[in-house]
Amino acid sequence: MPEISDSDSSKLPDNASKVPPQPQSQPDFDPKLMRETKPGLKRLFLTLTVLFSFLLGFPFLWKSVEIYRSPLPFREIDSLLTQLRSDTLLFPLHFHALFIGFDSDPDRIRLSILSEITKVTSQNPKCSNNYTLSVTVDFGPRCLRFPISSPHSISYQCGSITATDFVQNDDVAVDEKLESVFSGKTKEYSVVVVKGESEKAVVGKYRHAWMVVGGGWEMEIAAVKVAEVLVKVFVNGGREEGSIRNEFMPVGADGKIVLSFNLLNADPRDWVYDWDFRKIDDGLLATMIDALGPVANISVESQVLYHTPKASFSYWNQKLESHVFSNKDLPFFVNSNEWHLDTSIAAGGRSKILQFVVYVPSAKECPLLLQLPNGEISKTNGFISPMWGGVIVWNPQGCLKDSENKPTAGHRIPMQDLENMFEVFIGQFRQIFGFKSVNVYAGASGVWNLLPSERGFTVWEVDVLSRQHTCFNLHSCATTLGSLSRLVQSLPRMIIMDEIGKQVKLSLEAAKLAQSNASSGVYESSAASSRKARSLAEDSFFHPSIMSVSYYSFEHCFAVYSPFFLPVSMHIGLAALRELRRYKKEKAKYLAWKAKSNTAS
């Protein structure tokens, strides 16, 4: 055998190395079955080294073809999601009940009101409130307070409100009086219960309500009513529970709303109406926009469009002497082909645009009335479409076509009509936010009169909105981040830029800040940071680099590297296998020979 074996001489002294083994000399030596030297390890070692270095190279290769994925804080996203899902966001609220002319123990009243409140409060699955209640019984010069050290009840000057303040019939004056007494303090909702002759229950436009009760009123009944106004009106905004609309806020991700007012002349050949929109904008709308400042940044635009017929037909009603548009056709009123209302260029990409449309019908459908589902004619002659806006049909006076066949652009909608129309629009706008526009709240325990605000939204309604806005933003931020994390985890070969990671981090930080602010009762900053959190979350989700489909797929990687690795790995693997097999065979031969030589000797 030509195999080189370095240990030959030392290990096998019988077969002297000087004398090479002669197969011919030994008659029973079969070269196919035996060998005299130990099989060499050199080639085996070599091939195995190559194989191992080849295998060692794989992790490096894997590392080098790895795509860049910015580490996203998946765990924190999950914890935010579960946190918002399990323990709801708590907004602290302070209630203050003031009893004038009553002779009872404030602690007892407080307990009874608290028990009523827990009865009335329904569990909102998303956001709930953490309320504290203080009760004051005013005897004129002195008063009883409970809890005694509460900053809310202590700031009330005893005797500053007397029963005589409520004798007058002017609710607005009473409201102003209450505001002057309670103002300058932290946000608290106060209910004043007064003994008097007439019975009356009013909710003011600030954060106060008062109730004048007759002499024979029991404390318990008063407590029920107080609890209801606190929970149903001040906390829930007088809205029905479980309405889907309450969960959506028509506010863009950047906290902006664009109100786009459109005057549509269905057929300008019949008549052309114009409006003096600037006056309305400066007057009616400016105050409302100002009132809604804490919730959203609102801007107003207007345009007049022509040749914009509605999409569906109305029918002639002889009795009403007008064209009637039935309720079931309302989805087809808005003609998206011809009404080029358009989005606004001035607004940023994520602002919410609400379209408000005044529709001036053409002469052949002139007194156009909208019919309610119960067959009656709508008083406002308008309707809303949630998250889109509202439509009002305005019929020109008398529906008389110009006797001259030249309808110039000289007509203007009378100011009075325009003001009425914009009151309806404000009502529609309130409705889009989920508020009713009736000035009576009928609860289970009785009826409350609601004082309307000339600003469109009362202070307590804006409070409700801003709480809801924060809550909605936080949930929306959490769900967006949750979907992002699910998407990223489901596509392991998607490139994720550093910027996305940064945005996600900032968004989480803002969400945390909003949560902590909300629980400490700082509504404005919590609304602002929740808005920021949502906007950043959307930014990261809609980042252009995520949108692109050009991620580096596994198939691509395989196609590039297989021409090299497939043949090479085949060579190396086979070589290692062969060497190993050969070594085993040769070793067996050697062992056989050794055994034989042992027996022989």
Binding site: T47, D342, I345, T408, R412, P563, F564, L566
Partner: protein
């Protein structure tokens, strides 16, 4: 304000009805303290072209006066445009979508229409911004994106710095804040027209725009849709500047011959008679009620009028002194279906050729029951030529191969304008000034030193001809090359040519467009003649000033023409090349690796012995023959193998096993991945 206005409006109503013309004068005086209103005007100009075609030029103008609420509240003016102007602080902007090429030779190049409405194919956008120098590029990029969304076009490709340039002085509204970009390959169709129409108060529902029947417009030979906006200075403090939006649509159409049955030999020379219905398939059934004026004009250009006068003279033989519009109208060589409301004759007779005539028709007089359908019927054959720009410009590529080439701009004197220039020809130092503006993409690497000038086919020194030159060389993948030149050519020049050589660059594989083999476009060059003004001055009259189209005609704008867009084929790689390279390299590496490994673990002595043993055993027929053959070839004596042949079934089994292994692997692979 409103109280004041409403009686005033009633007054206006009465006034407009009868004393339309006095009203403006009256109104403009009285409106000193009053708020101005937004206005809209619609106009259509029709013009027969020498090559039996008809030009229709729609002109819509909306204007918004300076006001505090521009961009927010609008009545007639499109809100989108106003917001765009406010947001990007656009001082002036022009966007055009064009399909087809304006035929300067037969459709003329001197009138206001070709010089301001003939546009290069595809999209052209330029804008002047009212922002500090460092913000201009950002504004431009945002503007392109907004316009792209607004007009459903890929204008956003103009965002990249390689596609736009900043001309210094050769582009007419020259200013430092100007940006200019073109997309020669943009296809233009209805989806661009619809948003354009949406900016009109009546869209195509009423008024002149009703004529815009899509199939007839897009069947035309040339179609250019333009949007030009100018923001006028704000009146006072706190006011937002006013905007004038000018939308024009220029189409060249071939009227269907109404007398198809006639088969005269001279039929070819007779201009086809046409009507609005035969061109557009529609007729105007009234105005857009919001339009302040709504007029249709028929323009007979200078050449045609001169020809008609000439014919008239010949036919009549009665040498009347002078031709007035009246007898021109009463003894016409053509017939109009409607009586024109006014006839304008061009005032300046600087051109010996004659002066153009404009017929005005007011659409207001027509209604749905009596629609306006202007038709023109020729009675005698007329042949004329349109007035040309002083030089006809064309541009072409020279050279072959994928490595280098040359761009040539050739300017040829048009025969027609010879006489016109002859007035100054006596003067020895008469010069013809020509401005050239050319943008070249960076991958066409122009060598500016190789610029050569030929005048009358004689090479000339550059300094003799080029008075002023401004070059900004291209930067690879950053900015295109821009060349601006002022040429001073002698008036008697017959032809002039500029050539410049270039190398074709290589692009990165990512930078090739999807259809790279089609070639790359070099945008049209702009040739302008600053000493020649394309304007038509009509008799000074209020009604002329009132019409935006006619006042546009009176503006002194330099004669401008665009050259052809060039198509440069670049070397396009085989796009599967990277994979091929990877595969080949990998295979070579694999071979190297494999053979190296084999050599390393080779046992030479053992193999030799093994082979010998094998050879001793194996004596197949074939191998016997082979060994015989090889022995013969070697010139040795053949030794017969000693041992008997072994069966080859073992080898076959191995082969079969290998085949099965490979097939199994393939099947497994398929199974695993599907």
């Amino acid at each position: 304000m409103a109280l004041l206005q409403r009686p005033f409006f009633v007054l206006l109503l009465v006034l407009t009805h009868q004393f339309m013309q006095y009203w403006i004068a009256f109104g403009s005086v009285n409106e000193e303290g009053q708020k101005q209103e937004e206005e809209f005007n619609e106009e259509l100009l029709l013009k027969p072209l020498p090559d039996r075609k008809v030009l229709a030029h729609f002109h819509f103008q909306s204007s918004a006066p300076p006001s505090t609420s521009n961009g927010r509240h609008h009545h007639i003016f499109p809100k989108a445009i106003s917001q765009l102007v406010q947001k990007f602080r656009v001082k002036e902007m022009e966007l055009s979508f064009t399909q087809g090429r304006w035929n300067y030779e037969s459709w003329g190049g001197f009138d206001p229409i070709p010089s301001s409405n003939a546009k290069p194919p595809g999209v052209e956008l330029w804008a002047v911004f009212d922002v500090p120098q460092h913000q201009i590029d950002a504004s431009w990029q945002n503007l392109t994106h907004t316009l792209s969304g607004l007009f459903c076009a890929s204008i956003n490709f103009l965002e990249s710095t390689t596609t736009y340039s900043a001309p210094e002085w050769s582009f007419p509204p020259a200013s430092g804040n100007l940006r200019y970009g073109t997309l020669p390959r943009e296809a233009v169709c209805t989806e661009n027209l619809t948003p354009w129409l949406k900016l009109l108060p009546c869209r195509d529902k009423a008024g002149i725009a009703v004529l815009l029947d899509r199939p007839s417009i897009y069947r035309g030979f040339y179609h250019s849709q333009r949007l030009h906006l100018t923001s006028t200075g704000s009146g006072s403090e706190g006011m937002v500047s006013g905007i004038i939006l000018e939308q024009t649509l220029t189409v060249v159409l071939q009227p269907n011959s109404q007398r198809a049955g006639m088969a005269y030999a001279s039929e070819r020379h007779i201009q086809p008679s046409w009507s609005l219905t035969s061109i557009f398939g529609k007729q105007v059934s009234g105005t857009c009620v919001l339009a302040k004026s709504s007029n249709v004009y028929l323009l007979l250009d200078r050449g045609l009028v001169a020809e008609l006068e000439h014919l008239h003279k010949e036919n009549e033989k009665s040498a009347e002194n002078g031709f007035t519009s009246q007898n021109f109208w009463t003894k016409p060589s053509f017939e109009l279906s409607a009586d024109p409301d006014r006839i304008f004759i061009e005032e300046n007779s600087l051109h010996s050729k004659g002066s153009s005539v404009l017929y005005k028709f007011q659409v207001e007089k027509y209604s749905e029951s009596e629609p306006f359908d202007l038709s023109l019927t020729w009675k005698i054959p007329v042949v004329w030529l349109s007035q040309q720009a002083p030089l006809h410009a064309s541009r072409f590529l020279m050279g072959s191969g994928n490595e280098r080439g040359a761009i040539a701009i050739s300017l040829k004197s048009t025969q027609l304008s010879e006489g016109f220039m002859g007035a100054n020809a006596d003067d020895e130092r008469c010069d013809l000034q020509v401005n050239v503006f050319q943008v070249v993409p960076w991958y066409v690497k122009v060598y500016f030193h190789s610029l050569q000038v030929f005048v009358n086919q004689q090479p000339k020194a550059i300094s003799d001809i080029i008075e002023k030159i401004h070059v900004s060389p291209s930067k690879d993948k950053v900015s295109p090359g821009v060349m601006e030149m002022v040429l001073k050519l002698p008036c008697k020049v017959n032809s002039a040519a500029l050539t410049i050589e270039f190398d074709k660059g290589f692009l990165h594989i990512d930078e090739y467009p999807p259809d790279a083999n089609q070639g790359f476009d070099i945008p049209s060059a702009i040739i302008s003649f600053p000493n020649f003004h394309a304007s038509m001055i009509f008799l000074k009259d209020d009604s002329v000033n009132k019409s935006p189209l006619l006042s546009k005609f009176q503006e002194k704008s330099p004669v401008m023409s665009y050259t052809e867009a060039l198509l440069v084929p670049l070397t396009t790689p085989d796009f599967s090349m990277p994979y091929n390279v990877i595969t080949i390299t990998c295979t070579v590496f694999a071979l190297y690796f494999g053979s190296l490994l084999n050599v390393l673990r080779r046992r030479v002595a053992e193999e030799e012995r093994f082979l010998k043993e094998k050879a001793a055993k194996k004596t197949g027929r074939l191998s016997l023959l082979l060994s015989k053959l090889s022995a013969k070839l070697r010139g040795r004596q053949w030794e017969p193998p000693s041992s008997p042949p072994a069966s080859s079934s073992f080898i076959n089994a191995k082969l079969v096993f290998k085949v099965i292994l490979v097939a199994g692997l393939a099947v497994g692979w398929q199974y695993f991945f599907s």
